[in-house]
Amino acid sequence: MAKYILKRCVSIIVTLFLVCTITFIMMKAVPGGPFTTEKNLPPNVLEALEEKYHLNDPLLKQYVDYVKGTATFDFGPSFKKDGVMVSDMIAQSFPVSAKLGGVALVIVLLLGIPFGILAALKQNKMPDYLATIFATLGIAIPTFVLGTLILYVFGAKLGWIPTHGLDSWQCFIGPSISLAGFSLAYVLRLTRSSMLSVTGQDYIRTARAKGLPERKVIFKHALKNALIPVVTYVGPMTAGIMTGSCVTEKIFAIPGMGLF
């Protein structure tokens, strides 16, 4: 086990290094730069800017500086906001995104898994149909539509929830639901299909043949197997949700990571 964890840690470092390198190469390969706009800047201004951000250093030096900086969490000054360090921006906005993401994650897990199990146990009955309709809608409706709809109906028209910011707990309702929507639907569907395939397995019949009560057959023998694909999906999903979504944060005017 320890060996396995160590192996994974090494592979994380290697992966991150490769990601940095490829990003760097790609950014340098495309034409244009951070200061390219519709109006052409006067050459001397552009030169001054490039000087300031070390963009006229030799490429290799830029690359080494970049990797060094990234490794020490020093991402340099922002190109967009004058005089603000990128790491400070992250330090400020990440907790906001993470808090919202945390709420969304709880919604996804607390509703997605139990209702997925319920749908599987009541296959082709009312609860299953309702869950399927819900999941299909959740997957089909894009976040910007869902978010806008929630904001318009419950925020603007009905006035039940605040339309922006994250100052009170009510503020979380709209953005967290719109952030959770897709993943919730996906987790529900995944749990349902995984549970259905597991309950048809021979070892579930064995569990029943042992005389186990149905509760144990389902929640111990079936669930432990059925959750394997769900957990696999929830890992990357957590990262996605916690680091903020541009769409949701823009719609609800939340000062999170997604805004940058």
């Binding site: 070892y203 019949r205 064995t206 569990a207 043949a209 005389g211 186990l212 009560p213 023998h221 432990k224």
Partner: protein, 335 residues
């Protein structure tokens, strides 16, 4: 026959599918004596597994016991609820399945799965249960059992998994063991070991065994009593020797012709039974073998035969065994 441990009367099991009722078991009656090994043979699809699952109360939707009784220790299992059956399954009657590769739960250790059965039915501590698990693994001759107890199923070979399944089935010393083709998925040498094991278990623990198989060789070595099943019905039943030496039913004769006779070293060609097993979804009340039988009569299409006594403990469900029909045949008054 008061020493019957299990008595099945006129059992009917059907699967109610969207395309119609599949009558998988039709009017089956038999009894099993305490301590005997009963073999049930027949081609696949003849309803053998369905009978066993019916006894266990494990029929999967849309299967239902439509009629009949399953009397075990004076109680009718056919009318028991799932909850009541939980106290019988694994404790009084156990079952082992065809495919050992998929019959154990991959996410629990083998020892854990066996201990779970014990702790479900008996109030014993984890420690005592584990001690029993070790004894069981030794009983089914798993080498270096002590170190295997915490292994996961994927660390076991097919034969070892089937041994573990047998250990699991024996965990609460059940009166009866139902084995559904326990060796079909294993290779031949392992098959023989497994059969030895089952025989020893019967000897040591006096467990009654119903052994379902389509392998007549296994039957001839293992069983005291044999039933031949076809198209959801019992065709013939007799003590083991008589099935091989004096088969009465055309289907049994066909089955025997279709297996190699190694003993005599004969060079005769094997004769497969022509045709394929009947589709149980079409309503047909005649003899299920009528479409493949070499001696089908008009009578056979109209109704299935009752069971005729053709010898001591030897019954056969074929119209040819009806004394009246035999008399008519002699006179040539029948076709």
């Amino acid at each position: 026959m008061n020493d019957a441990i299990l008595k099945i009367n006129n059992l009917e099991i059907s699967f109610y599918t969207h395309v119609g009722e599949v009558r998988a078991v039709r009017d089956v009656s038999f009894s099993v004596k305490k301590g005997e090994i009963l073999g049930i043979v027949g081609e696949s699809g003849s309803g053998k597994s369905t009978v066993l699952l019916g006894i266990m109360g494990l029929l999967q939707h849309p299967g239902k016991i439509k009629a009949g009784e399953i009397i075990f220790e004076g109680e009718n299992l056919a009318v028991k609820s799932n909850k009541e059956m939980q106290h019988i399954r694994g404790k009084k009657i156990s079952m082992i399945f065809q495919d050992p590769m998929s019959s154990l739960n991959p996410v629990f250790t083998v020892g854990n799965q066996i201990a779970e059965t014990i702790m479900t039915h008996e109030h014993v501590s984890r420690k005592d249960a584990n001690k029993r698990v070790l004894e069981l693994l030794e009983l089914v001759r798993i080498p270096s059992a002590k170190s295997r107890i915490n292994c996961y199923p994927h660390e076991f070979s097919g034969g070892m998994r089937q041994r573990a399944m047998i250990a699991l089935a024996l965990a609460c010393s059940p009166q009866m063991l139902l084995a559904d083709e326990p060796t079909t998925a294993l290779d031949v040498t392992i098959q023989a070991q497994m059969m030895d094991l089952l025989r020893d278990i019967r000897k040591e623990l006096d467990t009654t065994i119903i052994l379902v198989t389509h392998d007549l060789g296994v039957v001839s070595e293992m069983c005291d009593y044999v039933q031949v099943m076809y198209g959801g019905r019992l065709m013939e039943e007799a003590v083991c020797r008589d099935i091989f030496d004096a088969p009465g039913h055309p289907y049994t004769k066909g089955l025997l012709r279709s297996i190699p006779n190694v003993k005599k070293g004969s060079r005769e060609r094997l004769k497969p039974i022509e045709g394929s097993p009947p589709d149980l979804i079409t309503p047909f009340d005649g003899c299920p073998f009528a479409f493949r039988c070499p001696s089908t009569m008009n009578l056979c299409m109209e109704g299935a035969s009752q069971e005729w006594e053709i010898g001591e403990k030897h019954r056969c469900a074929c119209h040819l065994c009806n004394p009246q029909v035999q008399a008519l045949l002699k006179e040539g008054g029948i076709e």
